[in-house]
């Protein structure tokens, strides 16, 4: 996935008093026995529930697993799929794996970048936020070139078909 790592500064993290309660994380914490080796499992679940890893979430996880915040932050920032910004209403991920590359993923991505950029055609048409990203292969290469929109795979796409589909989302 496109890297999007804005590191939480320690001052920002510590300036918010109290770690906040995240009772919804209790089941996964219990399943992992509050052991440090369950960190990535816990972070995956936290992001699934909250869409992103906020400073408060990271502090909570650190405390629950008895790990330094730096360890939690350092691990989270290593992996591409963890994000530290809220997700947009819709997410369009262009696969840039080998098969998709051979079938023209580059042109597809460039066209979408142009269209979805501020001032692009879609914005002019009254777009709500669509986040554009990339992924290196989702493993369904029979459908190349493909995009993944809100977790749904759209096979055999062209810039026009993706844009038409994205417009359909907003209605």
């Amino acid at each position: 996935m496109a890297t999007d790592h804005s590191i939480v500064s320690s001052r920002e993290a510590s300036s918010q008093p109290g770690s906040g309660a995240f009772p919804e994380l209790e089941p996964v914490l219990r399943r992992q026995g509050h052991r440090p080796d369950g960190l990535i499992e816990v972070l995956n679940r936290a992001q699934e529930l909250h869409g992103q890893l906020t400073p408060a979430l990271l502090r909570h996880v650190a405390a629950a697993l008895r790990l330094p915040l730096s360890r939690v932050q350092g691990t989270a920032s290593f992996y591409h799929l963890f994000r530290f910004k809220p997700p947009a209403a819709h997410r369009c991920v262009v696969c840039t794996g080998t098969a998709c590359h051979v079938k023209g993923a580059d042109a597809l991505l460039r066209a979408l970048e142009r269209e979805l950029a501020p001032g692009g055609a879609t914005e002019a048409a009254g777009a709500e936020a669509i986040e554009l990203g990339t992924v290196r292969c989702v493993g369904t290469c029979g459908g190349a070139p493909l995009v993944v929109v809100d977790e749904q795979v759209w096979n055999h796409q062209t810039p026009a078909s993706v844009l038409a589909g994205l417009r359909g989302l907003r209605r």
Partner: protein
């Protein structure tokens, strides 16, 4: 009239109508009354049926045999369902021709030339049903080896079968098992590397989605043979359906006493946990994978010590990939000698490939080791479409190389591909036609390695950046002969001095294209500046 309808609901087909097809056909069958052709039908959602490029796929098995239909689109689903509902009573299902679907010949080479051992049940059974897996024979080999109670005999069988690591390394599996079995200490760990990160590779996904119990059985047999009581499956987060099916399968197996404590009434216990990755290609490297399982950054470390000595939590650890474990139950079922006889002298058994790119029939297939590449991409895959010719076949992903068209007679086995400067890899095979620029392909893989380098060692962290810049310079037509020479020497430096497999193999796509397609690079070089022209009088 009875029969079975199988709808492919693997990730590839699910996205292009498979899920909707299963739902709507289910409704038709539920509403059918006695006498309707649909009334006696059983409907199954199954794993990969093979030709993924033709999805969505529907298979009908009736008294008159098996028939496969493809090309069903989300828009065509309703028409297929309506057509089944409207068949007049007494119609022979064998003659049913669903609209908006094209028949796929099951006698064509794509199917006929396969030898399905790992994929034996894939596309046949409902992957979410333990009962179907058991009926198909799953866990039979686990029960048998537990009863016979001779772990060393199992390891000996695996050794004699000639099975080698299917993740691409090709290390003899029996030898690896024997090494871990010999390690002292009461606690050992078995790990399945299901972090199938090579772009263009999706064989393991097909197994995980289509027959997860086969993997669990293979892992349990391995754990028992080497004396491990804990296991982990490390699966990439990009495979949500594989994760879901694995979770279901683990819970079912635990429930039936096929995992957990006292398996199948024996004294053997095996606790299996799923670990989901978070997007880092380097975690496919075994020492990085160990760190990731431990909840740390997925950074590799030098070997030795090898994981067999010091692995997860410092314990002796056996790491194999999905296909290797999934090969074990069929190997034990047919016997080591029969399994070894399928492949070549140095590489026993079968290999699953995912065929994609510029090829008519893309999908997942399993062939005997030693099958020529041409048989796979041309005879089975149908060659390049739209009147193009095949230029190269890429194997092994970012760690592999390109096999040129004039060497497609090369058999797929570990040594032959290595001689050509590529590797077997995990089984991704991307076909490239004559319109492909091989410099662009090399640049694509270098961009990938640059992004995925973990940054621990300098040759990989900085080398991939410099190599990528040099390749971009070539593509922009701004490189000269000195840049080409530097590209080549830097490749060797990165290859020779990087810490782990990622860096050591990152230059391979460049080196292999330089070797077989040097003309592509030379054609992009900036012309040498001409001698100063004579001043015009």
């Amino acid at each position: 009239m009875s029969g079975i309808l199988r709808v492919c609901t693997a990730a590839g087909c699910a996205g292009c109508g498979g899920s909707a097809l299963r739902e709507q056909l289910g409704a038709v069958i539920a509403a059918a009354t006695t006498g309707d052709p649909a009334s006696g039908l059983a409907l199954k959602g199954v794993g990969c049926l093979g030709p993924c490029g033709e999805g969505a796929l529907l298979e009908l098995e009736s008294a008159s045999g098996r028939r496969l239909f493809g090309g069903i689109t989300p828009e065509g689903v309703a028409a297929v369902a309506a057509s089944l509902a409207n068949l007049s009573p007494g119609t022979d299902l064998g003659t049913w021709a669903p609209p908006a679907a094209r028949p796929i010949d099951l006698e064509q080479p794509f199917f006929r030339l396969q030898k399905r051992l790992v994929l034996e049940h894939c596309g046949r059974i409902d992957p979410e049903s333990l009962a179907e897996a058991l009926a198909a024979g799953s866990y039979g080999q686990l029960r048998r080896v537990l009863q016979e109670n001779r772990p060393e005999a199992v390891i000996e069988q695996v050794r004699r079968s000639g099975l080698r690591g299917r993740g691409g390394g090709g290390y003899p599996t029996g030898l690896k098992w024997a090494t871990v079995a010999r390690m002292p200490g009461p606690e050992k760990v078995v790990v399945c590397n299901a972090d199938e990160g090579d772009p263009g590779a999706f064989m393991d996904r097909s197994v995980l989605e289509g027959d997860p119990h086969r993997l669990l059985e293979g892992m349990a047999i391995a754990a028992w043979a080497v004396g491990a009581s804990r296991g982990f499956i490390y699966v990439r987060a990009e495979y949500p359906m594989a994760i879901a099916h694995l979770r279901t399968a683990i819970a079912q197996a635990e429930d039936q006493g096929l995992l957990g404590a006292a398996i199948a009434g024996s004294a053997f216990g095996f606790q299996l946990e799923l670990r989901v990755g978070a997007g880092a290609f380097v975690c496919g490297e075994e020492t990085a994978l160990i760190h990731s399982i431990e909840g740390q950054r997925g950074v590799p470390r030098p070997r030795p010590p090898y994981p067999a000595e010091v692995g997860v939590f410092g314990l002796p650890t056996l790491i194999n990939n999905v296909e290797t474990f999934a090969s074990v139950p069929p190997l034990l079922a047919i016997g080591a000698e029969a399994y070894a006889a399928i492949g070549t002298t140095n590489s026993g058994g079968t290999k699953v490939f995912s065929l994609t790119g510029d090829v008519r029939l893309a999908g997942v297939l399993e062939v005997p080791m030693g099958t020529p590449i041409a048989t796979i991409v041309e005879t089975m895959g149908g060659g390049a479409p739209d009147g193009h010719a095949i230029k190269a076949v890429q194997t092994g992903g970012p760690s592999g190389g390109c096999v040129p068209a004039n060497r497609l007679d090369t058999p797929v086995d570990y040594e032959s591909l290595q001689e050509l400067g590529s590797i077997m890899g995990s089984g991704g095979m991307v076909v490239m036609d004559d319109s492909t620029s091989m410099v662009d392909v090399a640049c694509f893989f270098m961009a990938f390695c640059r992004e995925e380098s973990c940054g621990k060692c300098i040759p990989c962290r900085s080398g991939t950046v410099q190599l990528h810049l040099l390749l971009q310079k070539h593509l922009a037509g701004e490189a000269d002969a000195a840049d080409l020479a530097q590209l080549e020497s830097l490749c060797h430096m990165v290859k020779d001095t990087s810490l782990c497999g990622l860096g050591q193999s990152a230059p391979k796509p460049v080196l292999s294209t330089l070797r077989h397609f040097r003309g592509d690079y030379l054609a992009l070089l900036r012309p040498e500046p001409e001698a100063t022209p004579e001043p015009v009088p």
